[in-house]
């Protein structure tokens, strides 16, 4: 294996008193489908934001295909297709207009933009809604148009924050096959999720993150060690179950007010 597609060294970020990412080292092998998993608030989104140039780290380095994201942002950004979670789109544009907009901002030739956007809208099942405003889209459709925006300039790397959230099973399968063919074509995918089963089925590499640190990282096979991944995951995080007698007042039959 050659140098990693993405490498972070000592990446750190704090918001006020709260440490979101604490010295995170990550190496994403080229051509891998890399899963970033961890509980809510583990720092997945913060990490992805710092890798994609959306959030300036307090310390550390991000190298994407040999380009330092925070020293030469344009070179690194040109290689990445990004789908953030929780950020708005220019949603007063129709799906078609939005794709065209992102394509032109990324300097894709007009003819290519038109051809690719028609194909993407078709594959993702958005063709019938292509001329409606994105603001009127459902959550799943918004996710899909966001993914299309990340793909329009044929990037080398895809960084997707919770790409399957709110997406229906049929579209989910479509997205899976898109990602597989993207990797087969030599691209690298990093996606975050807190659904272990999904990552286990889709990814070949993963990193478990909690409290801003990498707890474990490597190929799915090596991390699994013959057991279901969910079990390993809970073991790494130190899972806790509901104690005996907790929350009993929630039972409707307990008849207490």
């Amino acid at each position: 294996m050659t140098s990693p597609a993405i490498a972070t060294v000592g990446l750190a970020k704090r918001f006020g008193d709260k440490v979101a990412v604490a010295g995170l080292d990550l190496a994403v092998p080229r051509g891998s489908l890399f899963g970033l998993v961890g509980p809510n608030g583990a720092g997945k989104t913060t990490t992805l934001s710092m890798i994609t140039g959306l959030l300036r780290p307090d310390a550390g380095q991000v190298i994407v295909e040999g380009h330092d994201v925070w020293v030469d942002p344009p070179a690194a950004k040109a290689l990445m297709g990004v789908l953030p979670d929780g950020l708005r789109l220019f949603d007063r544009l129709s799906g078609r207009e939005l794709l065209r907009y992102v394509g032109l901002l990324r300097r894709v030739p007009v003819a290519d933009v038109d051809r690719r956007s028609a194909e993407l809208l078709d594959v993702l099942g958005l063709a019938a809604d292509a001329d409606r405003l994105v603001v009127d889209y459902s959550a799943g459709m918004t996710k899909k148009i966001g993914l299309a925006c990340a793909l329009i300039h044929a990037p080398r790397l895809l960084l997707l924050d919770e790409p399957f959230e709110a997406v229906d099973p049929v579209s989910g399968e479509t997205i899976r096959s898109i990602l597989h063919s993207f990797v087969a074509g030599g691209g690298t995918v990093v996606l975050s999720s807190h659904v272990m089963e999904l990552v286990e089925r889709l990814c070949d590499h993963l990193a478990v993150i909690a409290e801003g640190r990498v707890l474990a990282s490597g190929s799915v096979e090596s991390l699994r060690a013959g057991r279901p991944l969910q079990e390993r995951f809970l073991e790494l995080l130190g899972a806790h179950s509901l104690g005996e007698g907790a929350l009993t007042w929630l039972h409707s039959s307990s008849a207490s007010s």
Binding site: L54, A78, L89, R92, Y101, L105, R106, R132
Partner: protein, 540 residues
């Protein structure tokens, strides 16, 4: 419930203070400014009480009516930067609108504008009416009544505007109604001043007659009661008190109705399945460069984003007022008459500068698209400036054309054109520079304008103040040239001086604008991530 809502507002203010140093600085500057205004207002009222007691009553009524009007108009002009508590947030809690209402009124007064208003008016008016015990007692009742009316009317306007701007279907209707209202302001002002003139023509007498009209209107009824009491006109005082109470009760009832609707249908923005007209020719006009794409997108937003529309509306307010006033006074001798129409396009620069300064704030977290796509700051700035500039110029030329057609006198045209260009280009330069430096979390397009944006107010004020000052300063060279052209208008060399003024103003303006675009672009290139953090603070 009242205490709970007040505490909620206080803790929102506190967290906004802790969020960023610059926001704190903005709020402190805003507070200092507000304190200054309050002190000035109190001193002014006290001076009135002792130096010219006979005019204390009419001046109070006119001034405070204007204040009430300001409370009603300001939220509309600053749609997107309202920092009040959104009632829709309470939809899941078992509360009724009637229980929320008193607390929301009080909470609306917490914040710089509210506190300044309360202090300035309460203290000032109590000083003014310390002339007699009955007057003081009347003031103690009526000043709080007037303040509450202020808030109620203001909230009512915001709710109505939210309902109207929220749905695309009503926007055009609302626009027409708004325009009619605005032009009627011009006519009312004109009629009032004409009536005052017929009485005697003295400024003070005009003031008295204006106060007399306002004192019976929803705007001034509460404010006028103490004066009537002091003068011993008990019948008139009672009548005005009834008017004030009815107005307050009616506003409260209407707002309560609107509130209960917000509580039962908090999800704003009517979804529509209709396709939008894309106007593909726009893309061909602007070409396929990133700058062109930004411009085409900005132009589409002017049509589809109600916040731009409300900004655009305010661009037409002043010209309409000037227009109606000058058209209805044209028969007067000595006044500026129809030629005042030439001043109409001057306001454009100020409106365009404000919109340009708010561009990034309006985009909100969608700006990430520009950040990850590697759009350079210059491309971003230039694309937006192009659209706002072309729109401003077109409207300005239409205004000038109307002025020329109505007056049939081309004499002031070069001067007016030079001044319009100076303010427009200066405004774009100031707006694009301030917009790159200061962003304020704004309410997303189509969302209920009630949505909470705590702490944005003071920064919004700082941004607006800087933009306005910058516009005037940067426009100065062109304005001087315009003044020169006006001065030499009737001379034999008038045409040449005028032409030189237009060209000089355009050249100076374009130079400043280009410099602003380059500098603001560099600023953005350095700080894109920070810009994104500031504009998306509202999406959490």
């Amino acid at each position: 419930m009242v205490a709970l809502l007040v505490r909620l507002k206080l803790s929102l203010l506190r967290t906004s203070l802790q969020r960023s140093v610059w926001r704190t600085v903005g709020i402190v500057i805003g507070a200092a400014y507000g304190l200054g205004v309050a002190v000035l207002a109190i001193v002014g009222q006290a001076a009135l009480r002792f130096a010219a007691p006979e005019y204390a009553a009419p001046a109070s009524v006119v001034g405070l009516s204007a204040l009430t009007l300001g409370w009603m108009i300001l939220p509309i002009l600053t749609v997107g930067f309202d920092d009040t508590i959104e009632p829709g947030r309470f939809a899941l809690l078992p509360v009724r609108a009637r229980e929320l209402l008193p607390g929301l009124v009080l909470a609306a007064l917490i914040g710089i504008p509210g506190v300044v208003t309360v202090i300035a008016v309460l203290v000032g008016q109590l000083v003014v009416w310390s002339v007699s015990l009955p007057a003081l007692l009347a003031a103690l009742v009526c000043v709080p009544l007037g303040l509450v009316t202020c808030v109620l009317l203001s909230r009512l306007v915001v709710t109505a505007a939210g309902a109207v701007f929220g749905s695309r279907r009503f926007r055009e209707i609302a626009m027409v109604v708004f325009m009619l209202l605005v032009s009627s302001i011009g006519i009312v002002v004109n009629l009032a001043s004409a009536a005052a003139r017929s009485v005697g023509g003295q400024l003070t007498e005009r003031l008295v007659s204006l106060a007399d009209v306002l004192g019976w209107s929803p705007l001034g009824a509460a404010w006028s009661v103490p004066g009537e009491v002091a003068a011993g006109r008990w019948g008139s005082a009672g009548g005005r008190l009834v008017v004030a109470l009815v107005v307050a009760a009616l506003a409260a009832r209407l707002w309560e109705l609107a509130l209960s609707r917000a509580l039962t249908s908090p999800l704003s923005g009517s979804s529509s399945a209709a396709a939008v007209a894309s106007h593909g020719w726009l893309d061909r006009v602007f070409g396929s460069t990133p700058t062109g794409a930004v411009a085409a997108r900005a132009l589409r937003y002017w049509r589809r984003d109600p916040r731009y529309l409300s900004g655009g509306l305010s661009a037409l307010v002043m010209p309409l007022i000037i227009g109606t006033v000058s058209l209805t006074t044209s028969r007067d001798v000595g006044g500026p008459g129809l030629h005042a129409l030439y001043a109409a396009p001057l306001i454009l620069g100020i409106v365009v500068s404000a919109t340009t300064a708010n561009d990034l704030s309006y985009d909100g977290s969608a700006v990430w698209t520009h950040v990850t796509a590697g759009v350079s700051g210059r491309q971003d700035r230039l694309g937006r400036v192009l659209v706002n500039g072309v729109l401003g110029l077109l409207v300005g030329l239409v205004f000038l054309g109307i002025a020329l057609g109505v007056t049939r006198d081309a004499g002031p045209l070069p001067a007016a054109l030079a001044a319009t260009l100076a303010l427009l280009l200066g405004g774009l330069a100031a707006g694009t520079a301030v917009g790159a430096a200061i962003q304020v979390p704004a309410v997303p397009a189509g969302a209920n304008p009630f949505r909470t944006r705590s702490g944005g107010g003071a920064m919004g004020l700082a941004s607006a103040g800087l933009t306005l000052t910058g516009t005037v300063v940067l426009a100065l060279p062109g304005l001087v040239l315009a003044g020169l052209a006006l001065w030499r208008m009737s001379g034999p060399e008038g045409l040449w001086v005028g032409l030189a003024a237009v060209l000089g103003s355009a050249a100076a303006g374009c130079g400043v604008l280009w410099l602003a675009i380059v500098k603001a672009g560099e600023q953005l290139d350095r700080t894109w991530p920070e810009v994104l953090a500031r504009v998306s603070a509202s999406d959490e």
